[in-house]
């Protein structure tokens, strides 16, 4: 513990700067982030530039990619690129909502269980375990089947509500080890209450960890949402990459040789989630000095 001390640079904010230094040099992180950001950007500004509404029929049905329709058109002559950019939005939205909600619940449960401990921990832990072992897709299937989800937000909400347990578990474990660190006691002796200690002492300490948790939850939400969409339990209005997949599949895109309908949405989901995972490994390497070398 003390040995590192000397080696660590003595300038201000060195930790952060060092992280940044390794971050920009980390191929995994940079590649991952670039892909995700590029797709995010496409989803954000794409719809502004694409004239066609995503579900509008154009004249040319089943057209392969051309200069006019970059990604070709569907059986009904909808512009796939327009669907794609709108779909990206929805997919990111599901990721943010689902991942966000799961992260928030996971954090609250994890922090409280880990910090407060005792009976509260026992109860929360049991709750976590229960939600953890119930297969979430099965729950989502049932709930969605009865509810008939209408919007991306609701879908995200339900995904978030079932996704949190492992995050809670991980955060609880982390909190547990941080709780015994002495600065927590010091904060208590400085008159801070539980909430404040969690928010201002423990959480900042695991910010990188929380961020990585969110990334994983985000990716998971996107995948789950696409599965739900595919089964036909997705949002009934609008477009998402999962719905595009479902439609392409339902209208036998591949069998009819319309690969341009089926491939882009799946590839985009894979790219987003994969890039996030890669970036996550990169982040891990940045934040964890042990993994940096060799």
């Amino acid at each position: 513990m003390t040995t590192i001390q000397e080696a660590v640079p003595r300038e201000r904010a060195a930790v952060r700067r060092e992280a940044l230094y390794f971050a920009v040099r980390n191929g995994k992180l940079m590649t991952g982030l670039t892909i995700v950001l590029a797709l995010l950007l496409l989803g954000l500004i794409g719809p502004l530039f694409v004239a066609a509404a995503p579900n509008e029929y154009s004249v040319k049905a089943m057209s392969p990619p051309t200069g006019e329709h970059w990604f070709g058109t569907t059986t009904f002559g909808q512009d796939i690129f327009a669907q794609f950019v709108h779909g990206l939005r929805a997919t990111f939205a599901v990721g943010v909502v689902g991942g966000g909600i799961a992260a928030v619940i996971g954090m609250v449960v994890g922090f409280v269980a880990g910090y407060v401990g005792g009976l509260v921990d026992e109860v929360l832990n049991m709750l976590t375990n229960i939600v953890l072992v119930i297969p979430s897709l099965a729950v989502l299937l049932i709930v969605n089947a009865y509810l008939g989800i209408r919007s991306v937000a609701v879908q995200g909400l339900f995904i978030g509500l079932t996704q949190w347990p492992w995050a809670a578990r991980a955060i609880r474990a982390q909190t547990f080890s941080l709780r015994t660190r002495e600065f927590v006691d010091l904060a208590r002796m400085s008159g801070s209450g539980t909430g404040r200690i969690i928010a201002r002492e423990i959480a900042p300490n695991m910010s990188s960890y929380l961020f990585m948790t969110f990334i994983l939850l985000f990716g998971g939400s996107v995948l789950i949402a696409s599965s739900l969409d595919f089964i036909g339990l997705g949002p009934t209005e609008g477009v998402s990459l999962g719905l595009m997949l479902q439609n392409a599949n339902q209208w036998s895109a591949l069998q009819l040789g319309m690969w341009w309908w089926f491939v882009p949405p799946g590839a985009a989901i894979t790219a987003i989630v994969g890039a996030l995972y890669v970036a996550n490994v990169g982040l891990d390497e940045v934040f964890n000095p042990k993994l940096r070398e060799t």
Binding site: G117, G118, D121, E122, M126, N129, I130, L132, V133, I134, P135, S136, L137, A138, V139, L141, I142, V143, A145, Y146, L147, W166, G219, L223, I224, S226, S227, F230, I231, G232, L233, G242, L245, N249, L254, Q255, F262, G266, I269, T270, A271, I272, V273, G274, A275, L276, Y277, V278, V281, D284, K290, L291, T294
Partner: protein
């Protein structure tokens, strides 16, 4: 030890209880009337007949009793292994419908889960060994895990099935076959099983490989590895230890992932029209067959719980740390 399992059993018991209760509650507190759709599908015109039918089905499904009684009956029936009657496949009992599908799902899930776990772990351990492998092979792992199950499945079905004609794209065995105990039939089963298995296997494989790689890297950095190499132990031995120790958390990972994998299997089955639970669930949803849906749900929950419990036992058997932890355990 007894305490540990007692505790686990308690959690599983509670989980099951919660699952059953939620399962019971949803159809009763959600909008929509299963009986209405049932009646609507029988081509009955006359209002009296409609009413008669409605009353008949309500009685059949026990929807005409007080809620608490319904709940108690639900449990009673459940314990008798009675999941009710399927609406979509009326009048087949749900347990029978599920029973027909389960072997297929198990045949798909169990090997793909176990094999992907074994192979993925090897693969990850291998990747952690060399920088080159790490940087070239592992991205493949990332891409695989990031793939939506059904996307890969459809691509496989199309490429290897329709285009290349190597594998059938639907069914559990040839439609020209009747089940029998022969090599031909077994090979045929295998032939149909290959593609769905492959798509499940590949996606899961990536996840395990990545997990293992990270675990191994940590293990190789750990004190006992350093100590062993300081004593000049060959890399072979160190890796063997690291692998074993890294595999242990992966066992827990297996338990955690089970739900996800089952979900993947459901989607994959749908793509390949594999006659397992997945196809069943899809149809149950489309036909609003809540009883079937509930039965399938309970079955999956039960399956996952049992699998979890087995994994728990295995884990305790193979990892001495848990045993010590159980004795001394910090809260």
């Amino acid at each position: 030890m007894r305490r540990y399992f007692g505790r686990k059993l308690l959690i599983y018991g509670l989980t099951f209880f919660v699952a059953v209760t939620v399962n019971w509650m949803i159809p009763r507190f959600m909008p929509g009337d299963p009986v209405a759709s049932m009646v609507a599908r029988a081509n009955v015109t006359k209002p009296e007949a409609v009413e008669a039918m409605r009353a008949y089905y309500n009685n059949l499904f026990g929807l005409d009793q007080p809620l608490l009684t319904q709940y108690a009956n639900f449990w009673g029936a459940l314990l008798r292994g009675d999941f009710g009657t399927s609406i979509w496949l009326f009048p087949t009992p749900v347990s029978q419908v599920i029973g027909g599908a389960v072997p297929y799902t198990l045949a798909l899930v169990v090997p793909s889960v176990l094999l992907s776990w074994v192979v993925g772990n090897q693969f990850g351990a291998y990747a952690a060994r060399r920088k080159l492998l790490d940087n070239t092979v592992l991205p493949v792992g990332y891409v695989l895990t990031a793939m939506p199950y059904m996307w890969l499945a459809v691509l496989l079905a199309w490429a290897l099935g329709v285009i290349a004609g190597l594998f059938p794209v639907a069914g559990g065995y040839s439609f020209s076959m009747r089940p029998n105990l022969s090599w031909t039939f077994f090979l045929d089963l295998l032939h149909h099983w290959t593609l769905p298995f492959l798509s499940l296997f590949l996606v899961a494989l990536g996840g395990w490989a990545i997990g293992m790689r990270n675990m191994i890297i940590y293990e190789l950095e750990s004190d006992y590895s350093t100590y062993l190499s300081a004593l000049g132990a060959p890399a072979r031995l160190i890796r063997r230890y690291a692998f074993r120790n890294a595999v242990l958390p992966q066992i827990t990972g297996l338990a955690l992932q089970l739900g996800v994998l089952v979900a993947g299997a459901l989607v994959t089955e749908i793509v390949f029209a594999y006659p397992g639970l997945g196809s069943l669930i899809l149809k149950a949803i489309q036909n609003k067959d809540f009883f079937l849906l509930q039965g399938a749900f309970l079955f999956i929950v039960l399956g996952v719980l049992i699998a979890n419990f087995i994994i728990d036992i295995v884990y305790v058997v193979v990892d001495p740390r848990t045993r010590a932890g159980m004795a001394g355990a910090q809260a």
